[in-house]
Amino acid sequence: MDISLQAILSQAMLGLNNGAFYALLSLGLAVIFGMLNVVNFAHGAFYMLGAFVALLGYDFLGKWLGDEGVRLSFWAALLVSPLLVGLLGVLIERLMLRRLYQVDHLYGLLLTFGLALILEGLFSNYFNVAGEPYNGKPAVLEGAVNLGFMFFPKYRLFSIVLSLAVCFAVWFLIERTRLGSYLRAGTENPDVTRAFGIDVPLLRTLTYFLGVALAGLAGVVAAPIYSVSPKMGSDLIIIVFAVVVIGGMGSIMGAILTGLALGLLEGVVKVFYPPLANTVIFIVMALVLLWRPAGLFGKEA
């Protein structure tokens, strides 16, 4: 089978699209892990929740309020959904996660795993696991652009640009602003940070809010592309874990770049040997671990 350049480029574009989501999600996961030492297994569930807020806001809000005309538009959902998901995160951090910082980090993982099951199960009861279509895609983004080698839907292009913009904004926030420097200080040396009069518990809550809100945002952006289903997050979360392990927890930029690169890799592998596409990320992970146990951008422990 001869492989055309067109096929490679097309699949690479789709891969970049997936990679943008990997980057957005692994970024949130890395932020939470860096500050709280919690592997947020519920990250996929928050992503799913973000998508559902958009879906429910568009299709059901009017019915609930008794006025069919009321809808949460896609643009509003981009703000509202991460906020709501983030607030749920705050609640969880304050009520549960906070009590687990003193014990083995594994308990954080187990707690969030339980939370993920609860969220997934709740939504499975009311929604088809095959997924509900999201109909709120803005009219401006309908249609496709001719990239020369393929027709690429405008909305997908928009989702890549938006995800990357958000990723770099978060990178800027953490690496280049005062709040970011507090966050980093709180991660590296909580005792000293506290001695400087900084409210470390508040910082932690804020961090969890930020990380979870990023997952919620990713969910809204994903809603018009993939159908919104209760299981959409659990399928993705393990890949994102692998991305995080490959990138290492050392840097924010590491998480972003690894996410993008692996999405691209996955897309290109689909052209050359499709059966391997599902596993290529995990194979890369095993190889990276053998070669650099701390990950590509991680600092050696």
Binding site: F33, N37, V39, M96, R99, L100, Q102, V103, D104, H105, L106, Y107, G108, L109, L110, L111, F113, G114, L115, A116, L117, I118, L119, E120, G121, L122, S124, N125, P190, D191, R194, V200, P230, I238, F241, A242, V244, V245, P275, N278, T279, I281, F282, I283, M285, A286, L289, L290, P293
Partner: protein, 333 residues
């Protein structure tokens, strides 16, 4: 701020059991298990026994080695597939088929273990999870696994070529698959017994020392990585034994056996029953099994319930059912 970190499984301080001669609890358990099929639906009990063995094998790693693997389903499931292949396509006898599956899981355990033990704690969990996904996709795509259909129609065959395992015995108006039941009973008790011996051996003691303080064990001259790997391989092999036996009982191997939900399930069984206790995983497996069975008609509420059990265990109940009891009785169970 960096208070002393409690290790997983540390809740139960371990004292080596000196009562090695106490065989009566084993005999009592065997006797009880032997009469169960006359009262309770045997297919269900056989499945529970397989899950209990799986949880015990998992606990060997988590409870006594302090290593949380989040990909143990890959050993359970791959053994189910391999023994299914040997039994159905190659016509092997049941005991050889199960051995083949177990051996396969052991080899897989060696491979996964060599990569995974390079990282610790949460990383270890994520790495095992990700590696298990490779196995999952392999089981989805390999020609003999039947993809989404699973490997169906695994025959029970004749044990050692002699005893027909699909034979049933009439009891009242029911047909009891007693031959299979006693075979499964023997296999799982053999497995529990091996785990019990391992935990009470010098090897088990070193393992626990590593769990308590890895640096100290290292400074005492123990080759920590080798001990960890050995524990990992043993745990993988026994998980495989459980999976292979389950395939024989159910007559099919399917993707749910290798999926990460199964990995989560075995973590829950161990956590709920009490990690680091010998009896805990069994109690946990039975509880989770009964929960599934009783709530089956409620659809996704099962998932919600399981999630809630997880949350409650982690927040309030970290010793697990048997662990809390043991703590209260101040003895090991």
């Amino acid at each position: 701020m960096e208070a002393r970190q409690l290790n997983v499984g540390e809740a139960i301080p371990f004292e080596p059991t000196r009562r090695r001669t106490a065989y009566w609890p084993w005999l009592a358990a065997l006797a009880a298990a032997a009469i169960i099929p006359f009262g309770i639906y045997p297919s269900f009990v056989m499945e529970l026994m397989c899950f209990a063995l799986f949880a015990c094998a998992f606990n060997l790693l988590l409870g006594f080695g302090g290593l949380l693997s989040f990909g143990h389903a890959c050993f359970f499931g791959s053994a189910a597939y391999l023994s299914g292949l040997a039994l159905r396509d190659w016509g092997w006898t049941p005991e050889l088929g199960i051995l083949f599956g177990t051996a396969g899981a052991t080899v897989l355990g060696l491979l996964v273990g060599m990569v995974a033990i390079r990282r610790q704690g949460i990383y270890f969990a994520m790495v095992t999870l990700a590696l298990a996904q490779i196995v999952y996709f392999a089981c989805l795509q390999l020609p003999f696994t039947g993809g989404e259909d699973g490997l169906q129609g695994i025959p029970r065959g004749h044990l050692l070529g002699l005893v027909d395992l699909s034979a049933t015995v009439a009891f009242g108006d029911r047909q009891l698959p007693l031959a299979l039941y006693y075979f499964v009973l023997a296999v799982s008790f053999g497995g529990y017994w091996l785990i019990w011996r391992t935990v009470n051996s010098p090897f088990g003691t070193v393992l626990k020392a590593i769990r308590e303080n890895e640096a100290r064990a290292l400074s005492l001259g123990y080759r920590v990585d080798r001990y960890k790997l050995a524990a990992f391989v043993l745990s993988a092999g026994l998980s495989g034994l459980a999976g292979a036996t389950k395939a024989l009982v159910v007559g099919l191997a399917s993707l749910s056996d290798v999926s990460w939900h199964m990995s989560g399930e075995v973590v829950l069984m161990t956590l709920l029953g009490g990690m680091g206790t010998l009896l805990g995983p069994v109690v946990g497996a039975v509880t989770v099994g009964v929960l599934h069975n009783e709530l089956a008609s409620l659809g996704s509420w099962v998932t919600v319930t399981i999630g809630c059990v997880f949350v409650v265990c982690v927040m309030a109940f970290r010793r697990g059912m048997v662990g809390e009891l043991a703590h209260w009785l101040k003895r090991t169970l």
